[in-house]
């Protein structure tokens, strides 16, 4: 059931992406941007319903795996973008963010998720929910920062290279993009910090140890340090092209390490066999 609702949401994402791309190629049609916003907002709501139904179907175990993570990532990414749009009014970014959301959502739409099983009793802590939501939320903010960084680099290349093409008249100023990257990275870092704290609390409770050299823990800490360094470097004057490049590289590292951790079976206790390991330990 939830997969059907999710497919409806995906269709709405596609429509919103189309509207934003139309607006990007024909900036005079402001109506397209407005339509894009509202379609995206409805996609967000339908997506929320899909997640809710999914939770009642599978008891939340879905979100321990990669698939659930992607579903959640797109949802939070969209939510964050809609929220930003209310304040910054930069609909051109929609043409970069909505296709990204759609692409990330695509692999989750084919085939049924099977029955991921009910989340084991032992991990049903409120801190687990907080851990998952804030971890994916932080990644969503980093993802938007990644999109904006691409915009920055494209725009910078045109402005600096004196080629004033299509992007030149459509994107916001370099300064505005630069500031947005900084704010997104900072906000993402704060949310990601919450995820690490919640994760540590959970690990202490479930595994009886806050740190157990689990690859996922190592990678997460590495990413936390990476983005923390970016927040810090900003204060010592880094910005512009270098900062955008760093945001780009940071997110590529994040995404590839996260995905590879989830794909290689059994490499981390965060993976699909999470429940089994917990039961082994408790035995």
């Amino acid at each position: 059931m939830s997969i059907v609702i999710l497919r409806i949401a995906a269709a709405l994402y596609a429509v919103a992406a189309g509207a934003y791309i139309v607006f990007f190629s024909r900036p005079r049609h402001r109506a397209a941007a407005t339509a894009g916003f509202w379609v995206l907002a409805s996609a967000f709501l339908v997506h929320a319903v899909a997640i809710g139904v999914g939770c009642s179907e599978y008891g939340g175990a879905e979100f321990f795996g990669l698939r659930g993570g992607l579903v959640l990532l797109v949802w939070l990414l969209t939510g964050a973008y809609l929220f930003l749009q209310r304040y910054y009014k930069l609909p051109t970014i929609g043409a970069f963010v909505t296709p990204l959301a759609l692409v990330v959502l695509l692999p989750t739409l084919f085939g049924t998720p099977g029955h991921p099983g009910v989340a084991p009793e032992t991990v049903r802590y409120p801190s687990v929910t907080l851990h998952i939501l804030s971890a994916v939320g932080g990644v969503a903010l980093f993802a938007i920062a990644f999109g904006v960084a691409i915009m920055y680099l494209l725009q910078e290349r045109e402005v600096k290279g004196k080629r004033f093409g299509a992007l030149f008249s459509r994107l916001p100023s370099l300064d505005a993009l630069d500031q947005m990257i900084q704010r997104l990275v900072r906000a993402g870092f704060v949310v990601y910090t919450v995820a690490l704290v919640a994760g540590t609390i959970t690990a202490t409770a479930v595994w009886n140890s806050a740190w157990s050299w689990d690859p996922q823990q190592v990678v997460s800490l590495g990413i936390w340090i990476l983005y923390g360094a970016m927040v810090q470097l900003r204060h010592s004057g880094w910005h512009g092209r270098r900062y955008a490049l760093m945001t780009l590289v940071g997110f590529v590292i994040l995404l590839s390490s996260m995905v590879s951790l989830k794909i290689v079976p059994g490499v981390t206790r965060h993976a699909g066999d999470y429940g089994a390991r917990v039961s082994e330990i408790s035995q």
């Binding site: 725009q155 402005v159 370099l174 300064d175 004057g237 092209r241």
Partner: protein, 440 residues
């Protein structure tokens, strides 16, 4: 039939040199007086005069073109060779193109629409513009609006200083809390600094080798003067640096900018070199967060804009053409309506008179039913006879063939007068006004 038409006589930057244009250009009260004089002259129903620094054009709704021509020839004899004159649809098209900025020196510039609006407002106030000009001008404004919203004709920068503004805007957004530095007292530099004022820079600094000229320029652009040997330190402070000195070498070298960027902790800097020969080392552009442009770069932007506008102008022309045709059709429909009404009135009058005569002959021999039949027959003959002409006149009106109503009036021996208010229900007020003005 009255031959009242829309006439245009004018001269513009395309037809006349500035010496002639300035001799016929009028503003304010003088223009008002001229409008009253035009309106007072023989056979002129309505008049609007568009007078800007690039064009002076007289539009009249009149019996002939002479009063409009007289407006120019009475002012200067030289005007004669530079005038263009247009009649009817040609004149309407011209006005629409002017308002849509298709006839401007810089195609797509924004000011002309406001100027035409002002011209119409002035004519309205002077009561030289009536219902015809109201319809015409409002249609022209609507057309200009359509062109502006449906094409990109107004997009892009068309002058060096506009390019500077656009570039700075792309880099910084606005200039709140930022500093502009003017190096050298060149005229282009001052112009650009003034144009950049729209972005709201916090500070403008001026430096020049000769303090006298520098201070004068500082005063002119609302900035403060700094000594020439402070240049290196000023580069640290300034976000936008506009360089236009007469120096034959680089005044701002790569090394200077490199040092400044270190001190600025790489805050972005925009270098605009307006001097020829160049005053800013082009190698500065290799430095991170430094955006450097010279005259050639900016000229390329201007050219790109012009090229883009040429393409957009084609689309704009199509819009204008459609609007001109629509307006002309409506106008002809208006012209055909009175003829139709008159024709019908004329025919019905005859039918009624003939029916009455027949009835009075037959008198008592006919019962009520018979009388009705005779009247119905007369009406039916009128309807059948007029059916073809009515349809054809209406068709002619909608295809824009303006000659047929006149021909019909001629053929049936009726005068092509404006209809009485009750027969022009579409717009009774305008109908009445038109009727009264055309009889005057």
């Amino acid at each position: 039939m009255s031959g009242r038409e829309i006439y245009l006589v004018g001269l513009s930057h395309k037809s006349a040199p500035i010496e002639v244009r300035e001799r016929v250009a009028l503003t304010g009260d003088l223009l008002k007086a001229a409008l009253c004089a035009l309106k007072g002259s023989d056979g002129v129903a309505e008049a609007v005069v568009v007078s800007t620094c690039n064009r002076v054009e007289v539009y009249v709704h009149a019996d002939g073109i002479e009063p409009a021509r007289g407006f120019f020839t009475s002012r200067t004899a030289e005007a004669d060779g530079h005038l263009y004159a247009k009649i009817g649809v040609e004149a309407i098209r011209h006005l629409f193109r002017v308002a849509a900025s298709l006839d401007s020196m810089v195609v797509g510039e924004q000011q002309i629409l406001g100027q035409v609006k002002e011209a119409y407002g002035l004519a309205s106030a002077a009561q030289s513009a009536g219902p015809y000009m109201s319809r015409l001008c409002n249609r022209a404004f609507a057309t200009a609006k359509r062109v502006r919203s449906e094409t990109d004709i107004g997009r892009g920068a068309t002058s060096m200083s506009q390019v500077a503004v656009e570039l700075v805007e792309k880099i910084f957004g606005d200039l709140k809390g930022r500093t502009i530095l003017l190096v050298g007292a060149g005229k282009m530099g001052a112009l650009s600094a003034k144009a950049l004022a729209v972005l709201g820079a916090d500070r403008i600094l001026v430096t020049n080798r000769s303090p006298e000229r520098g201070m004068a320029l500082a005063q002119q652009v609302g900035g403060s003067f700094r000594a020439w040997d402070e240049l290196q330190r000023l580069l640290v402070e300034a976000d936008v640096v506009i360089v236009s000195t007469g120096a034959p070498t680089y005044v701002v070298t790569r090394e200077m900018v490199h040092q400044a960027m270190k001190a600025r902790r790489s805050r972005s800097m925009c270098l605009i070199d307006l001097a020829v020969p160049r005053n800013v080392d082009p190698a500065c552009a290799d430095l991170g967060e430094v955006f450097a442009y010279d005259v050639d770069d900016m000229e390329k932007v201007v050219q790109a804009t012009q090229e883009a506008r040429r393409g957009e102008a084609l689309r704009a022309e199509a819009i204008v053409e459609a609007e001109v045709m629509a307006f002309a059709r409506e106008r002809d429909a208006r012209a055909a309506l009175p003829v139709l009404a008159q024709l019908r009135r004329h025919a019905e009058q005859i039918a009624r008179a003939e029916a009455e005569r027949t009835l009075s002959h037959l008198g008592p021999k006919l019962d009520e039913k018979g009388k009705k039949s005779v009247e119905a027959m007369a009406q039916a003959i009128v309807n059948k006879l007029l059916h073809g002409p009515t349809a054809r006149l209406k068709a002619a009106a909608s295809t824009g063939d303006g000659d047929l109503p006149g021909a019909a009036a001629e053929l049936f021996g009726i005068e092509n007068e404006p209809a009485r208010p009750e027969s022009a229900p579409a717009d009774p007020v305008e109908g009445r006004a038109a009727a009264s003005s055309e009889r005057s």
